[in-house]
Amino acid sequence: MLAKRIIPCLDIKDGQTVKGTNFVNLRQAGDPIELGKLYSEQGADELVYLDITASHEGRKTFTELVKRIAREINIPFTVGGGINELSDVDRLLNAGADKVSINSAALRRPELIDEIAKNFGSQVCVVAIDAKYNPLMGVEGLDWICYINGGRVPTEHQLFDWAKEANERGAGEILFTSMNHDGVKHGFADAALRKLTDSLTIPVIASGGAGAKEHFRDTFINGHSDAALAASVFHFGEIPIPELKLYLANEGVNVRL
């Protein structure tokens, strides 16, 4: 049986790992390669490296970093941040990334998903969606609005419609971050995740809200998530991955041990 995946996410700025809370207040959390290797040895199933610099110079630095990651890391890894066109995808896959994650660029020009799928295969195309709902306007699971530019700019796209469109255009996976849950550590947006996983034909990665081991169990069992992504709880050693996986296995979740 296919295992549920645990994915540490490393936000990269100027070659270093950082993690924000509610997308602001960045704190340093270590060397990206050393951290990636440590996670791989501890049993992480994949890694995500997000370039949050996205300046021209930063992008070159990041490409060099991707080459080093590919040389040293022996599990699959996804890279994202600042990917706007097919040439960016080509450059990062050539550097050794297994998958690329696109976000704002896909919302601005959805055809980019079709182009990536056609040229490199759906399996390399992760569509990341940052979305937020207004708690005053209704209950969770309705009225989720997609945001671009690192969660700063709202769009007219609804989460569920956009995810379905991305699926149909050839995305290989959806990485859904709930901006309401991100950094709060009260658990993932499992109601919305369940609605996504039950309507899409591709895997969904849950992101935003991990604060305890139980949150991972809940998103796999209640949210039907295929994978769960987190950053700070791993970077600061709050939840050691081996301990998390043993816990999940004991709770009846199929994980790789």
Binding site: M1, Q123, D198, T201, R256
Partner: protein, 196 residues
């Protein structure tokens, strides 16, 4: 030890090159027939689509080179599927080392997503390729087509139905999963291949 990695129009070849380097071996990534024939080990890797890769192999004479190799050969992912007789993907005639048909996964329930992407276990392993493993190990898969279990199956995996996750016949070995992306387990499999 001289290790040749067959260079052709498939993706993911650099990952295999990196993985072989991590074993302390500097591989040659080449489409040169002589270099491939003279290597101690040949790896036929890749991620891609059957028809366009077969067309490329034929156009470059690599089809004949590969099937006539005498040293241990390891096909990975599309490399394994191309070593079979025929693939349902674009109705493609393949190299025919393994006389078996490559089929498309047909989902039975909503949870059966295609491609299979992620970590699954290999079972009923019977080959020196899996030397040193005592439990059902997890390896990394990413594929939409599969090889049914057959006479040459040396490991099977269950996804939608049981199928061949590794094959062996004479000097030809093949894995549907990606040892180069399968952590310590994958590294051990590649090391075992070098020690055959």
């Amino acid at each position: 030890m001289k290790v040749a990695i067959v260079k052709y129009n498939a993706g993911n070849i650099g990952s295999v090159e990196n993985a072989v380097r991590r074993l302390g071996i500097e591989p040659m990534v080449t489409d040169d027939a002589e270099l491939i024939r003279s290597a101690d080990r040949v790896i036929f890797p890749g991620q891609g689509e059957a028809c366009s890769t077969m067309t490329y192999l034929k156009a470059h004479g690599l089809d004949e080179v590969i099937v006539n190799l005498k040293q241990p050969v390891l096909g990975i992912c599309i490399g394994m599927q191309l070593l079979c007789r025929h693939s349902e993907e674009q109705d493609t005639d393949c190299l025919g080392v393994f006389d078996v048909e490559v089929k498309r996964f047909v989902p039975k329930v909503h949870e059966d997503k295609v491609p299979q992407m992620g970590w699954n276990t290999i079972e009923d392993t019977k080959s020196p390729l899996f030397k040193g493993f005592e439990k059902k190990e997890f390896v990394y898969f990413i594929h939409s087509f599969y090889v049914p279990t057959c006479d040459w199956t040396i490991a099977s995996t269950n996804y939608i139905q049981p199928y061949s996750s590794a094959l062996h016949k004479d000097n030809f070995y093949a894995t549907q999963f990606h040892p180069e992306k399968s952590g310590a387990v994958g590294e051990r499999i590649l090391k075992n291949f070098m020690e055959l």
